[in-house]
């Protein structure tokens, strides 16, 4: 008799858990760019407030994961922040929902404030390996880069051009970890989405141009990339409603408030 009780308990627990799934909830799942993910969550929160009965869930993983998830149906929307979508994304429908600058960041204690594109390329290829070569204090440069599947990394490397990452570069797997690494190491240099720059790090000017909304909109800051939302086929239902919300005036205002740039 006690064996039966033992088997009955998990069965009751399981059915209690499933009881919670009574209401029919529309769900929108996004996966991909870690640069856009925090903003997607904020927009998702607003969308859920306006449309009770929908659930928006956002995952990171990097832009390549976003493209693959959209392709394989693992997520309904893939987020990718790349200058140009790779050929794997050809079969997907894409919408530009925002633009984002890539800020090159250093520790606030670093005296260097400006780099030219050539210096940037040489630093990231490992050719320049000491801060004093570019006008800073004597110290070996610690390169921090994203992993190979990152949209931020591929945009950065595409725009700067001919970047073969130096052999000594540290690799971190999200924009957030790059920020933390640079914030704690006075000799580090890295890059991340301009929307994620805070007071713990310092953004450099590139060729005299600061990374700000004004310069990105004007086109004078060179490191800018669009943020795509990718769906397999035309978006429908809750997915379409969410994308329409992001592209609408309300969504774009929220995007500007959060620190990104509007699509137009």
């Amino acid at each position: 008799m006690s064996i039966l009780k033992l088997m009955l308990m998990p069965a009751c627990l399981a059915s209690a858990l499933l009881c919670g799934c009574g209401k029919h909830v529309e769900s929108v799942t996004l996966a991909g760019s870690t640069a856009f993910a925090p903003f997607a969550e904020k927009l998702g929160g607003q969308f859920m407030a306006r449309n009770p009965g929908t659930r928006v869930s956002v995952q990171g993983g990097g832009s390549t994961v976003g493209i693959q998830s959209a392709q394989q149906g693992k997520a309904q929307i893939g987020m990718a922040d790349m200058v140009k979508l790779p050929p794997e994304a050809d079969g997907l429908t894409s919408v530009v929902v925002a633009r984002d600058g890539v800020a090159v960041i250093v520790n606030p204690a670093n005296t260097v404030a400006n780099l030219t594109m050539d210096q940037l390329r040489d630093i990231f290829c490992g050719k320049i390996d000491n801060w004093k070569t570019v006008g800073g204090k004597d110290g070996a440069i610690t390169l921090v880069s994203r992993e190979a599947g990152s949209g931020t990394r591929s945009s950065f490397e595409q725009i700067v051009g001919n970047v073969k990452l130096g052999a000594n570069a540290l690799v971190q797997d999200s924009n957030g970890s790059i920020r933390e690494t640079v914030a704690s190491d006075p000799l580090a240099i890295g890059y991340l989405s301009h929307g994620l720059v805070n007071e713990k790090i310092k953004a450099l000017t590139i060729g005299g141009q600061p990374c700000s909304t004004a310069t990105v909109l004007a086109g004078t800051y060179p490191l800018v990339r669009p943020i795509f939302l990718l769906t397999k086929g035309a978006p429908q239902g809750a997915v379409k409603a969410f994308i329409d919300f992001i592209v609408s005036a309300a969504g774009q205002t929220q995007i500007c408030k959060d620190g990104l740039l509007p699509a137009k």
Binding site: Q68, G149, N168, V171, T181
Partner: protein, 284 residues
């Protein structure tokens, strides 16, 4: 009535035991199915000894990762084994029983701390310390070895305490009767008798250190390069799989599974070694 209840219990437990073994077998088969064809096609020697890991260009050499895993595990053992065995000896021999009954569960609590918390402490506290006092970027072999050394302490201490406790009291009494001091009795008699249990605990801890992923990704720096000093950043086999798996396709993905096969083999060897060493003691 009682007999059929017995039979039901037997069948249920048999099914549960089989499902545990079946899931292990299925995992092993899946990893081998995905990874072995790649190893055979690429050439095992090339795969294990080439220092060139550039998946975009079709180069899949995991030598830097193997060396990194070895260095970090060796470092973790250098830190964890002496501390762990010494702690176990202290707990079993030199601490009164009621105090031990409080301390041992506290140490076992250390085993319950998630590895990401260890990694977090490593990034926030240990890496800046290493960077400011020893040089280098801070995220390094040394940082990973220290964190892993602390992580494996509960394993080593628990099993070693059990091994030392299993030594019959007559051994200790005999040594003391022959005029040995307590410390002499401990290191000349008790430790020698508990030797296989202690070695087994170290080998099991090695297995845990080799397989640790999250903490290592956070503190080791993840650079693909053969290390020349303990202050350089490295990438281990486990970190490589975790970082690249989500964005890998085709041959790259198979190469990562092949890395999984290598890890699987290493950990299987370490675990069987631990089991044979442990059983040798029981047989004696």
């Amino acid at each position: 009535m009682r007999l059929s209840g017995d039979k039901v219990a037997q069948c249920v437990f048999l099914a549960i035991a089989f499902s545990a073994i079946a899931s292990l077998l299925l995992i092993a088969i899946f990893i081998l199915k995905e990874g072995l064809p790649f190893i055979l096609r690429y050439g095992p020697w090339n795969f294990l000894s080439s220092a060139d890991w550039r998946p975009q260009e079709g180069a899949f050499g995991i030598a830097p990762m193997i060396v990194a895993s070895l260095w970090i595990t060796a470092g973790a053992m250098l830190i964890g084994a002496p501390l762990g065995v010494a702690g176990a000896v202290f707990l079993s021999e030199f601490v009164p029983r009621p105090v031990m009954r409080v301390i041992k569960p506290t140490i076992e609590l250390l085993a319950g701390i998630p590895s990401v918390v260890y990694g977090f402490i490593g990034v926030m506290v240990l890496a800046p310390l290493i960077r400011n006092h020893l040089g280098g970027p801070g995220l390094s072999v040394l940082a990973a070895a220290v964190i892993l050394g602390i992580m494996v302490l509960p394993t080593i201490i628990s099993i070693s305490v059990d091994a030392i406790g299993a030594v019959p009291n007559s051994f200790r009494e005999g040594a003391l009767a022959l005029g040995a001091t307590r410390w002499q009795a401990v290191h000349m008699v008790v430790l020698k008798a508990a030797r296989s249990g202690i070695i087994a605990s170290i080998i099991l801890a090695m297995g845990r250190a080799v397989g640790e992923t999250m903490a290592v990704i956070m503190v080791a720096g993840n650079t693909i390069r053969l290390p020349h000093s303990a202050l350089e950043p490295v990438r281990t086999l486990t970190a490589n799989i975790a970082i690249e798996m989500s964005a890998a396709t085709g041959m790259h993905r198979q190469a990562l599974f092949a890395t999984g096969v290598v890890l699987f083999v290493v950990i299987m060897i370490l675990n069987s070694l631990a089991m044979t060493v442990l059983h040798r003691k029981v047989g004696r």
